[in-house]
Symmetry: C2
Subunit: 215 residues, 2 copies
Amino acid sequence: MKPGPRRSISQADIVDAAFEILEEKGFAAVSVRAVAAALGLTPTALYTYFPSKGALQAAMIEQLLAGVAEADAGSEPAEPAWRERIHAVAAALRARIAGHAGSIALLTSGPLDGERSRDVAEALIAAFAEAGLGADEAARAGHAVRAQVIGAAALDAAAAATPEQTPAPQTLWKEPSRHPRLEASAHLGLDTGEADEASRRWALDRLIDGLLASA
Amino acid sequence: MKPGPRRSISQADIVDAAFEILEEKGFAAVSVRAVAAALGLTPTALYTYFPSKGALQAAMIEQLLAGVAEADAGSEPAEPAWRERIHAVAAALRARIAGHAGSIALLTSGPLDGERSRDVAEALIAAFAEAGLGADEAARAGHAVRAQVIGAAALDAAAAATPEQTPAPQTLWKEPSRHPRLEASAHLGLDTGEADEASRRWALDRLIDGLLASA
DNA sequence: ACCTGAACACCGTTCAAGT
DNA sequence: ACCTGAACACCGTTCAAGT
């Protein structure tokens, strides 16, 4: 592929290559130079497609969030439609983040003002408004749900970055722990990123309970 | 100050200098080289105090979280003690993050397995246990509160990083917005980092409501 | 219009050497 | 023991030049 006036790749190709690096080597490895190299280009060529690294990251975020706001509730007619709708959007957001290793670092690395980000915010506010909350409370509730999902993902990422410590060698007596309750909850996997789906959903359910109770 | 076997500064001095750079120039500006320069040292000298940049950041996190777990409930005897206790710890965590610009990027940049991080987790779990939740539920509840506070701070940081857009020039007719509810809630300041204290506390209250209702 | 290559001002970290 | 200086393999971005 010789240099020339023919565009050899698309913006989408670049975003795809960037995601591949993100998922395999982490957020810090997503450099302009690495992405360019993966595509067989020089770093400077990328500046023909995106004006800055930040613009590339914004495009990545938009792709990550594409479709989240339109997430369907599926087939659980037991609950009111709006409650399933909130769950569907929140679950889709969580699933997108969980499905792309390193993506929470991407999401928290800069502004979240893209069209898709706003779609997600709007969808959540609309669902809470349907549930009977006033305009202001619905906006606050949507914000709280976004915070909960993003915060949980950030804690998961922190857990994933934690080097697993080898258990202390057996001794005859134990120092009393300063964190007995935290250690007793280790089997839940909350701080190792190994919590099951039900565990993850629980907190969101409780938040929604509390938010709806204010209606 | 000549080079020599006398230790000219302390680890605390380095952490302080790093925080100054963090708050004035942002997380990305906290480089080993910049911190060293601020102290009049060469970059390599810092490796006498900390084995890596990550170790310095871990020390920063520990200092940031120092005392949060011991936050006092203050003088609001209207509510049960444990509820005020949850609020006190959550508010202290939020206040620490809000009081140090850029600190949420620090907190989400790596593992959160320090002694002080665990103190915060333990304090929250203990408060929920006092409130009557079972061991597992208390652990999940504590985790949810940490996620809420960190997630809200992450959204605040994203808002702070968003370039404020100049309002569109007045036109005779308006395109119907795709995000009417989101835009109608702009006065709350949720997406500009300008929300007031009551607004920030509201989400946390609703979460705690929902968590306690499961007891 | 698209791309290369050189360059600038950075980065974390290692290593040999100085006092 | 503490610190410097040189070095290595990186970074984002700009700019002149090539096709």
